[in-house]
Symmetry: C2
Subunit: 243 residues, 2 copies
């Protein structure tokens, strides 16, 4: 049974990957992933075998990876951003139970929250909460509860999956819920296409965010009560003794 | 005025750095940082000028970086993990106001939450909150409130700075607060020395965590209500439809 890596490739371009991730991809025989991510890395790992499955076929993709490893190949399953933040590492470890001889190594990467924060300035310097607005696998009531309590706790909040065709009004709902505890003037920011062509950052207030156009390639940041704009960047001070 | 990079070097060994971070360090004249982090990278960037300041001299360190840039040098300020998570990017952007000709670029890295999660398995697959237990710059009452509300929201919780000589009982206090809403049997994990020599992971329950020995090199993970142990790894399922 060959070794199985689960690799976070970072938020965009090749050089946003860690050297450890690149080394794992160089050492493997097969690279498995969602079509879009495989296309992102293909040119940098010539000579590898590439296997893809479409979106929503995550279980099939994991089985595919382990079946290749069973043939004695070293396999890398790639994920955008980090493998462990809404990524494939959990499912791989669960499905790995059916392949008891398999050795699975998770290689971390820069997730969109971290990559997007660097584009906006320094919004995540202090305690923060990360929430996905996708209710595909989570009941919306649970998401609502997290939004309200995270706002009450004055966390900086980063939102993944803020919108999709079916969920066009979810960000609006989320902003209304957060405004139960956060000021409408709270500093917010969005980053589109982090680390790749078309990267765009925008600063706004929470009440403006409510009506902002976002899509599935946008990561959203809502400041805490101390977050401010410094020279056109979104900055959360580290604490009350800060300059 | 030379360019100023603020660079997250990842959680430990050199290869945990992104290629973008390594490229920035290769391109600069001066590397500035806390002594311990400079020692971590020194051997890989021979021929650079290295400038260090001790812990708690963060403001001096930022001024030092900008003063070097003022001489026309390209400067990199390095941070352990990510530059934007309890890192130096915020302070650099604030102090950068005094150097209006400066161009500051933040380069993200793998923070301890992401790096430690990969060691434990997949604890952060779903919504999570990151909280520092250090009350050096934050009132303890605010930290308490965040712990209780994050537990009530059923977030996976990652704790930074769980202990120090002066704060030996803070983790105990934090566990008691989280147990107002989380079961004492909640799956938890700790990782010591992420990505470097002596890396050690340990799984336990929340009530066991309460009395665990941790230090300032430990990152702590508290699962949500669905987090489980899979083949000796800590795994949070992605959602209710998961296998």
């Amino acid at each position: 049974m060959g070794k199985v890596y689960v690799v976070g490739i970072g938020p965009g371009e090749y050089e946003q990957m860690t050297m450890r991730a690149a080394n794992a991809l160089n050492s493997c025989d097969v690279i498995v992933g969602y079509t879009v991510y495989v296309d992102l890395v293909k040119e940098h790992f010539a000579g590898k075998e590439f296997l893809t499955t479409p979106m929503k076929k995550e279980v099939d993709r994991c089985i595919l990876a382990f079946e290749e490893a069973k043939k004695g190949k070293t396999v890398a399953m790639i994920c955008s951003g980090d493998a462990g933040v809404y990524g494939m590492s959990g499912l791989m470890l669960e499905i790995g139970k059916d392949y008891p001889e398999s050795e699975v190594e998770v290689i971390p990467g820069v997730t969109a929250a971290i990559g997007g924060a660097a584009v906006l300035g320094a919004p995540l310097i202090h305690d923060f909460a990360l929430i996905s607005l996708s209710d595909l696998l989570t009941p919306w009531e649970k998401i609502e509860k997290r939004l309200v309590l995270a706002a009450e706790a004055d966390f900086v909040i980063c939102l993944y999956n803020p919108s999709s065709k079916k969920r066009h009004d979810y960000l609006q709902k989320a902003c209304d819920l957060m405004m139960q505890h956060k000021s409408p003037k709270t500093v917010c920011g969005t980053v589109l296409n982090i680390g790749r062509e078309g990267e765009t950052m925008t600063l706004m207030t929470l009440e403006e965010l409510r009506d902002a156009k976002v899509d599935m390639f946008t990561t959203v940041f809502i400041g805490n009560s101390e977050t401010k704009v410094v020279n056109g960047k979104m900055v959360t001070p580290r604490g009350y003794k800060n300059v």
